[in-house]
């Protein structure tokens, strides 16, 4: 077991390293650099090419790629994520620390909401296959996955903010502001988890041990709680565990529409403006999260399910 963990850990390090090199490479291969954002606005700065070169030099953007990479890697190990070029004077770590909690909060709430709705719904669908409830929840799940979230978001804002004046149209300054983003984000997750729960329930219901339990004379409720659900939950728990890796991502659309100052918005703006340090730092953190969450989920899964042996 310990060997397994160490091996996975080392693999994780290699993966993260490769990702950071790839990100760095792609960012710098993209033509253009953040200078144009600083100068940008309709050419009113009227700078000569020499002055532009001076400014690029000031930001260290004219050094060879490998120098820039190693400087960045070196700083990283010392915990210094560098500085944003666009938001000059602000360390990247500050930007991320400001943005991460907001995104995490929304993701956690959305995941909890999804779990609370999807698991009972999925079990019920699985137990009462082809019933009215099943059909409706299937329809709901399909819609939830296919309808674009930004459209749903805008429609909800028009409905609840403009027409009914119940909720704020944007921002998360108070708890009311969290409602709509969390709901919109939860929709797709609910759909996926419900469908998965449904199929694992159906599969569990067809197992021998269920037939045995019924033969023994156990009532439906006991069969469900003690045998079916626990087994059906296993794959779902795995999926949810993997989703924890994405606690800091997947919210780009939501954040843009609802004006939530989270990682998604920070990331998109930074990529768009080629704000290298910020992008690299975020990608690094996200990849570390994914690697860690995957490893943790595998370990928990092995713990829960005695049939699994990790090698």
């Amino acid at each position: 077991m310990l060997r397994y963990v160490i091996r996975r850990f080392l693999q994780g390090i290699i993966v993260v390293f490769l990702i950071s090199v790839a990100t760095f490479g792609i960012l710098h291969l993209t033509p253009g650099d953040p200078i144009f954002v600083l100068i940008g606005e309709s050419g009113t700065a009227q700078l000569t090419t020499e002055q532009i070169a001076q400014i690029r030099h000031y930001w260290g953007l004219d050094q060879p790629l490998y120098v820039q990479y190693f400087k960045w890697a070196g700083n990283m190990f010392r915990g210094n994520f560098g500085e944003s070029v666009i938001e000059v004077g602000t360390p990247v770590s500050t930007l991320i620390m400001q943005a991460a909690p907001v995104t995490a909060k929304i993701n956690v709430l959305a995941l909890l909401l999804a779990i609370v709705i999807a698991i009972p719904a999925g079990i019920l669908s699985g137990v009462r296959q082809y019933s009215i409830f099943d059909y409706f929840s299937t329809l709901g799940a399909t819609l939830g996955v296919s309808v674009p979230s930004f459209w749903i978001a805008l429609m909800l804002i028009i409905l609840f903010a403009l027409k009914f004046r119940l909720l704020p149209p944007f921002g998360v300054s108070d708890w009311k502001g969290y409602l709509l983003p969390v709901v919109v984000l939860a929709i797709e997750q609910t759909a996926i988890i419900a469908r998965l729960m449904r199929s694992t329930t159906i599969e569990a219901l067809g197992q021998d041990f269920v037939r045995t339990a019924r033969a023994k004379g156990l009532g439906q409720a006991v069969v469900l709680t003690r045998h079916v659900v626990r087994n059906a939950l296993l794959p779902v728990v795995t999926v949810i565990g993997y989703r924890i890796a994405f606690l800091l991502s997947g919210t780009i659309v939501i954040e843009t529409v609802f004006a939530v100052p989270g990682i998604g918005q920070l990331f998109v703006n930074s990529v768009y403006h080629l704000d290298y340090q910020v992008v690299q730092a975020i990608v690094l953190i996200l990849s570390l999260l994914v690697v860690a969450a995957n490893l943790a989920t595998d370990l928990v899964y092995a713990f829960i399910d005695p049939r699994i042996r990790l090698t």
């Binding site: 954002v37 606005e41 050419g43 009227q46 002055q51 030099h57 000031y58 000059v88 100052p261 768009y272």
Partner: protein
């Protein structure tokens, strides 16, 4: 699914930024009489646009009204007034103290130093925190603010500014000439990372002879110095020298009516009233700008009252709707001086021939584009300067009507014969090019697609591709692109007509790689010419050449809208330059 807000794109390349009709109407002093004005709609405060809703396309009102409307008097500079002139107030009420104003913008506030005034949203906050020697108001009048008066030597090589006394910075220290000298010296140097270095072009020395006098000596005349250089915001010199620009832009200290209270760049920026401001404490207690990237959500925020004003425009259909809602909003309409255009790489074989470029102009029904894509909320372009820059605009240039037959015959005459695949070709080279559009540009993508149809009608193959703004700009300048579509100022950004950075062969923003030695000479002469009549003649000729050479396909000048919730009082009756209104936030109060 990632979806980039169009405003992020638009912000980089939209002409309608603070800067552009940057209140710089232009210089008095040496040069020309200056600028005009923006055409406001009838008497300002009202709409040019039709009052119908977005679905109808009755655009007749908008397009036709603007260019021929009233003549606005030329800009004035108050050289000796002791207090900045107050604009006529719309509401005659007694100002109420207190309250918070809520503004919304479309991008994050990256920094709050004088160097960050390019992006419009940032300028709105920076102008609350700082003051400059001269500041332009919403009617193109330059008012002395930190200066009380100034003189210009007849040869244009010396400026003497007399400074106001009794002005305090936010940290309690006194404002003096040392701060002006420091500011000018620092920001005129590009190796300090200053993107406004060229505002001080040809500046030689700055001398702070006594605490209330600053003398600026120039190496050569610079017609635009008063408009650009003396409008740079002044920093607290000792503090700035101590902490450096990087820290300063996160914690600025100025003389402005508000001081920085809280700054979370990606979310909001809040400024609080400064009690010792030399013009008196502002009426409201705090002013906040929040980031709302999605334009539809900004419209909704205005309609629910959660925001008092949006400092950046919303979608044009919504702008027209808000304009018509006079019960809930006070609206101002202005016109941008940045031209919406297709830069085309003159070095490409198909764009190298002037006749071909002219033919392309004939092939596009530009008025139709204005009416369908922009709901009529734009003015047709006839050259590189906007029609409302009355002091410089030259109407007597080559005009291009919509004439498909003429376009076809000109293309045929230029040797581009239609091939068997329906695309023109010459010497084995197909007339096929890629037009780059900003990623997520909701406003201009439809325009590109529409023009694609016009090109197809004359057998030119145009492909539309989306790329991020920084990539487009870099690639165009490197000569690696065919064409693109965005707004940019080709002269007129400060009200000053100089277009060296875009039209000169070695210009830093010469996207079309235009190379005309005659144009180069004229541009150089124009910058140095001190006689107003002679200067006008030079820029007349420049516009004439632009309309003949067509280095880029100039389409239109957008209208710009500013809406304020009815509860905001103290707004002027009219504004020729709506974007500038936010500089007077210290005069507003909440009803």
């Amino acid at each position: 699914m990632s979806r980039f807000p169009d405003e992020t794109a638009r912000r980089v390349l939209s002409g309608t930024t603070r800067r552009t009709f940057l209140k710089r109407a232009a210089a008095l002093g040496l040069s020309a009489p200056v600028v005009g004005s923006l055409l406001a709609a009838c008497g300002g405060g009202n709409t040019v646009a039709p009052t119908t809703s977005t679905t109808s396309s009755s655009s007749s009102g908008a397009g036709a009204a603007s260019p021929t409307a009233e003549v606005i008097p030329t800009t004035q500079i108050n050289t000796g007034a002791s207090t900045p002139s107050a604009s006529p107030q719309a509401a005659a009420g007694t100002p109420k103290q207190g309250g918070s104003l809520n503004l919304i913008g479309h991008q994050e506030i990256a920094g709050l130093s004088p160097n960050d005034t390019g992006p419009g949203d940032q300028w709105v906050m920076i102008t609350q925190i700082h003051n400059a020697l001269l500041e332009m108001d919403e009617n193109f009048v330059f008012n002395p603010v930190l200066a009380t008066s100034f003189e210009t030597a007849p040869d244009g090589l010396t400026y003497t500014f007399h400074l106001r006394s009794g002005v305090k910075f936010h940290d309690g220290t006194d404002f003096s000439s040392a701060d002006v000298k420091y500011t000018f010296d620092f920001y005129s140097n590009a190796s300090n990372g200053s993107v406004i270095a060229n505002y001080f072009q040809n500046m030689d020395t700055v001398t702070a002879s006594d605490p209330t006098t600053v003398v600026v000596k120039m190496k050569a005349p610079n017609a635009a110095f008063i408009a650009l250089g003396s409008s740079v915001f002044i920093v607290q010199s000792k503090y700035h020298a101590q902490v450096g620009e990087k820290v300063y832009r996160t914690k600025p200290v100025g003389t402005g009516p508000f001081k920085l209270q809280e700054w979370v760049s990606a979310d909001h920026t809040t400024v609080a009233a400064f009690d010792q401001h030399f013009r008196g404490r502002p009426h409201v207690d705090t002013l906040t700008q929040k980031l709302v990237a999605e334009p539809s959500v900004r419209t909704i925020a205005l309609q629910t009252g959660q925001a008092d004003s949006s400092v950046w425009t919303v979608l044009v259909q919504d702008d027209l709707k808000l304009n018509a809602d006079t019960a809930h909003f006070t609206s101002f309409t202005s016109v941008s001086v940045a031209v919406n255009h297709f830069p085309i790489n003159n070095q490409r074989p198909f764009f190298a021939d002037k006749q071909v470029r002219q033919a392309m102009m004939y092939a596009i029904d530009r008025q139709k584009v204005i009416d369908t894509v922009f709901q009529g909320a734009a003015v047709l372009a006839t050259g590189n300067l906007a029609p409302n820059l009355q002091a410089w605009y030259n109407a007597g240039v080559t005009k291009y009507s919509y004439d498909v037959a003429k376009a076809n015959s000109m293309l045929d005459a230029a040797g581009w014969a239609v091939g068997s695949d329906g695309i023109r070709a010459k010497n084995g080279q197909k007339f096929s090019f890629v037009c780059w559009v900003l990623s997520g540009d909701q406003a201009r993508k439809p325009e590109a697609v529409l023009v694609q149809q016009y090109m197809k009608a004359v057998n030119i193959d145009m492909q539309v591709q989306e790329l991020p703004a920084t990539t487009i700009l870099a690639q165009l300048l490197a000569g690696k692109g065919d064409a693109s579509l965005f707004n940019w100022t080709y002269g007129g950004s400060s009200g000053d007509p100089d277009a060296s950075d875009t039209l000169r062969s070695n210009g830093g923003s010469n996207f079309s790689h235009y190379n005309n030695p005659q144009m180069d000479t004229l541009l150089d002469q124009g910058l140095k010419e001190t006689d107003p009549t002679k200067r006008k003649a030079i820029y007349d000729q420049i516009q004439s050449i632009v309309s003949d050479d067509v280095p880029f396909l100039y389409m239109m000048y957008w209208q710009w809208f500013n809406h304020f919730a009815k509860r905001v009082q103290g707004l002027p009756k009219s504004a020729l330059n709506g974007g500038q209104l936010y500089a007077k936030a210290y005069q507003w109060w909440i009803a």
